[in-house]
């Protein structure tokens, strides 16, 4: 692993040894007994580490730069995809990607936040932080999907919506509010999956679906742990405490009944085994879409309304 997280340091000797064996091994495909044993030891260690990640460690995994992003899933879990560009009003925001795609012999409209992996990509993608155009493009694609009868699938992975003056000028708040309203009123099934960071309103804008799924090590939060710590304790360094207090992990959200399903990741996280992660995500998405397509439209809309309407947690 080229970018090992600090809590994985105990793995390094094992992984290094494994690499050495593999380099020296004859290329006849045979796996030596020693190699298999080492691999098993690595897996066991990973299972142990990833089985008890703290919320702050989950934040680091959710932000890992080798973690698959929206376009990676589109490439690996879908059989066809054509990206559509632009909001038809102002511009095209590369922090949100979307278009029609094929999965398990059916077509859906996919919309997702898109982060970059290196500096050049991150300049282009603005670190996955959309401007208002991104949300207006999302609305455009959602309406198109509705008119043409395609279920909508969204991939959520953003630190938050961009917060510059240009965003205020072009109505970031209005764009997010309208995106929420549009998504909630669509007359086609909608499925969202948080694949990394679900950061605040900028994430919620495309996450208000009939079914909300989360990858095992993803997070969903009202404010980034750093921002919350800065606000609550005037110390961004207390981000790990904020992560703990705000209950941001997929497991926490499931416990509070706020999400529908956790999609398990490969041992050691989605960033270790891309193909395996893509397979799990693809299966979860297509089975959820199929399940929703069984429902008559009025039932679908009624269930969707009550999914949010019936969140309680107050005293009367």
């Amino acid at each position: 692993m080229s970018s090992t997280l600090d809590f994985e340091s105990s793995l390094q000797p094992l992984e290094r040894e494994l690499e050495t064996i593999r380099r020296e091994a004859p290329g006849n495909g045979a796996v030596s007994e020693r190699e298999a044993r080492l691999q098993a030891a690595v897996d066991e260690r990973l299972q142990e580490i990833y089985g008890r990640l703290s919320p702050w460690q989950k934040v680091q995994v959710a932000r890992h730069r080798e973690r698959p992003y929206t376009l990676d899933y589109l490439q690996w879990a879908f059989s066809d995809f054509i990206e559509l560009r632009g909001d038809r009003r102002f511009g095209d925001d590369r922090a949100i990607a979307g278009g029609p795609a094929m999965i398990a012999d059916r077509s859906v409209m996919v919309i997702g936040h898109q982060k970059g992996r290196d500096t050049r990509e991150n300049v282009e993608r603005n670190f996955g932080m959309p401007h208002p155009e991104g949300y207006r493009k999302a609305v455009r694609l959602m309406r198109q999907a509705e008119r043409l009868g395609l279920p909508v699938v969204t991939f959520v992975d953003t630190p938050g919506a961009n917060a510059g003056l240009m965003d205020e000028e072009r109505g970031q708040a209005e764009a997010i509010a309208s995106c929420i309203a549009s998504m909630l009123s669509l007359h086609v099934p909608t499925v969202s999956i948080v694949i990394g960071e679900g950061g605040s309103g900028g994430a919620l804008a495309i996450a208000v679906a009939d079914r909300l799924l989360m990858l095992e090590h993803s997070i969903f939060t009202v404010a980034s742990p750093e921002a919350a710590a800065a606000i609550l304790w005037h110390d961004a360094g207390k981000a790990s405490e904020a992560a703990q207090s705000m209950k941001i992990t997929a497991q926490d959200l499931q416990q509070y009944g706020l999400i529908d399903r956790i999609v398990p990741e490969p041992v050691g996280g989605a960033h270790r085994k891309h193909a395996e992660a893509a397979k799990a995500v693809g299966e979860a998405v297509s089975s959820t879409v199929s399940e929703l397509e069984e429902l008559p439209l009025d039932t679908l809309l009624e269930q969707r309304y009550h999914k949010y309407r019936d969140i309680r947690f107050f005293h009367e």
Binding site: A161, N162, A163, G164, L165, D167, E168, E169, R170, G171, Q172, A173, E174, I176, A177, S178, I180, A181, S182, L184, S185, S200, G201, L204, A205, V208, F220, T221, V222, A223, A227, A228, A230, I231, L232, W233, S245, M246, K247, I248, L253, Y256, L258, R304, Y305, Y308, R309, I311, R312, F313, F314, H315, E316
Partner: protein, 297 residues
């Protein structure tokens, strides 16, 4: 959202509770430093007579100056927040903070609503109480906003919501965030009923409130000089790494950029709303069968 807990000199006008200023004969305008005679200042609805700065007012005061005298009937006054996450900040439990807010403000939650009349016209009115946790939206708040919208829908009454808030309430985590979806879903149904929703944004209006129901008015109204936006000034300055011009993300700025219909002084808002209700509702009643046409243009 980040603005709630930050010290912002503009909002700390009088060190004491601004609704209990009756003992003080004079109050100083935080913007132009003018000394204002309290009695006159109150009669002028707490707008500085010299520079027109709009002082923050409580939710109760807002209702008093908006509705016909004695017409307000409050609903669901007993709904309050619980502490679903057992949240603690700096050793102080959120549950204890909630009790403090209630004691300090005299309301159980940062949003109050009910029915009343403006110039004899029926309206469902809701207002945020900024002094209660920075007017931030948690589960109880979201429930009350949703019920206000549903009440208006059920009784075919126009909806008027006053918003001043730091955004979503961090102490309730993702539950707060999901209130954005809950309120917007209810609003979407309300709009399909053929009735108007008037949103009035006052200083400051931020984050999850602006980015959900507050920006979705059929008519968006703002008080002069109010800071209204997705992000607070400081957050934007951090993002941009430069100082913002003083008018950035103010009511006037938003009007210029097409986000707000009217920038209206506090004193004129009730009569504007009454005129709108007459034009949208009473003068031209919507036939029942026309009510359910396309809700999203």
């Amino acid at each position: 959202m980040k603005e709630i807990f930050k010290r912002h000199p503009r909002y700390r006008v009088a060190p004491e509770d601004f609704t209990s200023g009756r003992d003080n004969l004079w109050v100083r305008c935080p913007r132009c430093r003018e000394l204002l005679y309290t009695k006159e200042h109150e009669q002028g609805l707490r707008v500085c007579s010299k520079c027109k700065y709009h002082f923050p007012i409580s939710a109760r005061e807002r209702i008093d100056i908006t509705l016909d005298v004695g017409s307000f009937q409050e609903y669901d006054a007993t709904i309050r927040s619980v502490d679903p996450l057992s949240f603690e900040s700096g050793g102080e439990p959120y549950a204890a903070k909630l009790r403090q807010y209630a004691e300090h403000t005299g309301v159980n939650e940062a949003f109050i609503y009910g029915t009343g009349t403006i110039e004899g016209l029926d309206v469902v009115l809701g207002a945020t109480e900024f002094r209660f946790c920075g007017g931030a939206m948690g589960a109880a708040f979201g429930e009350k906003v949703t019920r206000a919208i549903e009440l208006a829908n059920r009784n075919s009454i126009p909806l008027l919501l006053f918003s001043t808030s730091g955004g979503a309430r961090m102490q309730e985590g993702a539950i707060s965030l999901l209130q954005m979806a809950k309120t917007v879903a209810a609003l979407d149904r309300f709009k399909a009923s053929g009735l108007p929703y008037f949103s009035v944004m006052t200083d400051p209006c931020l984050g999850g409130i602006t980015a959900s129901y507050a920006m979705l008015g059929d008519v968006n109204i703002a008080e002069p000089g109010a800071y209204i936006g997705f992000a607070g000034r400081r957050v934007i300055e951090q993002t941009m790494r430069e100082k913002l011009p003083p008018n950035a993300a103010t009511a006037e700025f938003l009007q210029q950029h097409g986000m707000v219909d009217l920038v209206a002084p506090r004193t004129e808002i009730p009569s504007i709303v009454a005129r709108l209700i007459r034009m949208y509702v009473t003068a031209n009643p919507v036939p029942k069968e026309r009510k359910l046409v396309e809700q999203h243009a």
